[in-house]
């Protein structure tokens, strides 16, 4: 057992957990943030993606102890002041989700993807970047559409701000 402290969605949190506890279980069980999901045992499906110090990681293959002292953002921390993040809004507008189970990981992956590529994303790049996220419902068609739409929206916003 170890005491771990980290910042999750802007709030400092601490918890006791086994050394073997995975970050995803710390988030779900200790913090009660159940938006981050577990869809496989082999770090393939990406339902568990969160941001650690601004970069997307699979929380099913990260020990909670490895995240000590870091800044974690989960799907619950993405919307600000009751407004959906542009990626969340684009998923809704483009029907980029059906059962919703892979969605938190998809959205967190997409936010990081757009951050890295800016407004320069094209369909082939989005599809390649989604290699680590599996969806069984949508056939990815509308997920790709949503990410491209969000990239334009966010890229456009940045240009406007500059």
């Amino acid at each position: 057992m170890a005491k771990i402290t980290m910042t999750v969605n802007g709030r400092q949190v601490s918890g006791q957990c086994d050394d073997r506890t995975l970050l995803v279980h710390f988030i779900r069980e200790n913090l009660g943030l159940t938006g981050t999901h577990v869809g496989c045992d082999t770090s393939q499906c990406g339902a568990c993606v969160v941001h650690m110090d601004g970069m997307s990681v699979k929380s099913c293959s990260t020990l909670a102890a490895q995240a000590a002292g870091s800044e974690i953002t989960t799907i619950e921390g993405l919307a600000a002041n009751g407004e959906l993040h542009p990626v969340q809004a684009a998923f809704k507008a483009n029907h980029g989700l059906q059962c919703g189970f892979c969605t938190p990981g998809m959205v967190m992956t997409a936010v990081d993807m757009i951050r890295r590529h800016g407004g320069q994303l094209d369909e082939a790049t989005v599809r390649a970047e989604l290699e680590g996220n599996i969806c069984r419902c949508t056939g990815y068609h509308n997920i790709v559409k949503a990410i491209l739409a969000a990239a334009v929206e966010m890229g456009g916003a940045r240009v406007a701000a500059e």
Binding site: G35, Q88, V126, V144
Partner: protein, 782 residues
Amino acid sequence: MGVEGIGARVARKEDKRFLTGKGRYTDDMSVPGMKYAIFVRSPYAHAKIRSIDAAAARAMPGVIDVLDGKQLLADGIGNLICGWMIHSKDGSPMKMGAWRPLAHETVRYVGDAVAIVVADSIAEAKDAAEAVVVDYQELPVVTDATKALEPGQPQLHPEAPNNLIFDWQIGDPAATDKAIASAAHVTEITIHNNRLSPNPMEPRATLGIYDGGDDHYTCYTTSQNPHVARLVMSAFYNVAPENKLRVIAPDVGGGFGSKIYIYPEEIVCLWASKRTGVPVKWTSDRTEAFLTDAHGRDHLSTVKMAFDADNRIIGLKVDTTANLGAYMSLFSSAVPTYLYATLLSGQYDIPAIHANVRTVYTNTAPVDAYRGAGRPEATYLLERTMETAARELGVSPAELRRVNFIRSFPHQTPVIMNYDAGDYEASLDAAMQASDWNGFAARKAEAAKRGMKRGIGMSCYIEACGIAPSAAVGSLGAGVGLWESAEVRVNAVGTIEVLTGSHSHGQGHETTFAQLVADRFGVPIDSVNIVHGDTDKVQMGMGTYGSRSGAVGMSAVVKALDKVEAKAKKIAAHLMEADESDIVIENGELKVAGTDKTVPWFQMALAAYTAHNLPPGMEPGLKEGAFYDPANFTFPAGCYICEVEVDPETGVTKIIQFVAADDFGNIINPMIVEGQVHGGLAQGIGQALLEGVHYDPANGQLLTASYMDYAMPRADDLPSFTVSTSNTPCPNNPLGIKGCGEAGAIGSPPALINAITDAIGNNRLTMPATPQKVWAAAHAAN
């Protein structure tokens, strides 16, 4: 239709909670005192259990108890059942072997559960499960259905000699044989439909809660049909009587058929909760899902299709062997019979059909309905045969289909189904135009210059949805009726709750069902709540599968809305001193037609509940229920075209374009319908190109038990799709809906395989068409 009514492209109401991490799935549920379960599962595909010693495990830290199958049997918990009786052609009933929720004598597939460990944490339960000592005596194994029927093979169940469950037939064997004997041409082909794992992204989970104070059970579970779960657990498994058992299927992360069935884990966790006195939660990991979720397909068929001199089909003979795995799952017997062979006429006018189906036990996971359930098997078989025949006859695949299309409706096939409406040529034309079929030759020539082999293939599918008229399915052996129920409650302030027995696990019912109400009364969909998935709230329902929520579930809502509308008009007429036949409902108001007199919807609702001024004799309140039993199946149909490029150096297939032209009848929300098609196409393409469950035939070990070994379609395996609809309304339900949930998975595999075989010039190719197989087939052709 209005901005939120029928036909409107409304963004989904349920999206916000899923997008913000506020979805509530079964594994997200937590109750005071809750403990965690891990199942001890057989590592052998076939073995006798000599003994189970859990003493060491029980003494480990955090362990509450370890329970086994003998205790379960002693407590009177029943066998799992198959709910659809099939009789062999000799009249004998299907041979059902016993399936215990926890095996206590024999295990029959890798993953068969033998004990449950309940502990303070998952980690402690896992540690203890490792310490349960099960003494197995290994038995010989058979995993292949054809082999399992041969003499001298391992026998799975004493009830089923030679592992044969039933030997069933449909159609007219004599007429079919005669047609084949007199044919100008007979196309013969062997068709293998590969075994698949459904893989909804949410693994199965259940939370069993026993309340000793009221002797009451609550079961949270990942189910497509919580009421059927309650019915079966109450009536057959002796878990608890219905009034003492509440089943809740909250947000469910995809199903695709695999969450129709009631699995051992639900039963055992409820029972274990009573035995241990604590709530017990179990969540499958992905490997357990591969091992124990019901698989799909696994057919081997031989086909003879007979043509006359004008290329008209005069007879079709099919012989199929279907692998049902180690036990008969809930609807396993219906899938390779009435959901399969009744669709063997396809879109074609075929005067004589005969199909024979043998189902077989093997040492593999149970096989049951997976998206499409029987209809993909029928479509793949027919459409590969049609393409093969077109090549043999030297006619274009489109023309061969055109010549044989059914053109007048209703049409009675020789295999039970009576098609009510359709326009197959419209879909074919739409797909050929969208894919620029006529420009293919030039594209092929251009690809050849780059050293690539380009191919094009089509598939014209039909399916039977809206399952189904209760009396009809009852006469065919179903143990349940397949109606649906709905209740519409108008609150005193005019907001509306719709309770439905359909269950949404991705289909968007919270939006589309609300659109029906918005369309009818002109109220915003935000004032309409859809309630489903809880047996304490919705009285009864049959759930969601077989693309039935629109055709059957929504029809029940329509019937209840009719009753609400009639009463609302009576109240409004009374309030405005008008004749009820003059009342119209528009934009949230009840109006006297041709006047400026109106009563707002909420005011009418309030009047219903204050009951100060109602028509004489009228009951207060505004709440109506309805049960809807469909008059017929519905028959969605369409044409899919796939164009591929195969790299002859590597065997890698690239999908250049995939075109879907469907006839779904009337559409409530086109955005959601398109999404259903996209998802279905991805699963069908997955089956054709990537996915396959493999067991080691020597020992029955599952070789594809993780996403490292089982190839799920990923974003870069798929193209963007070109989808369209040309719709003929279904004449048999009030909304004219046919259903759209499975079409993509049904129609796509043959279109893709037909395209690849066209590209490589070799028709001998099985699914999944991996690069290795395609490379070998391409080189064998040369």
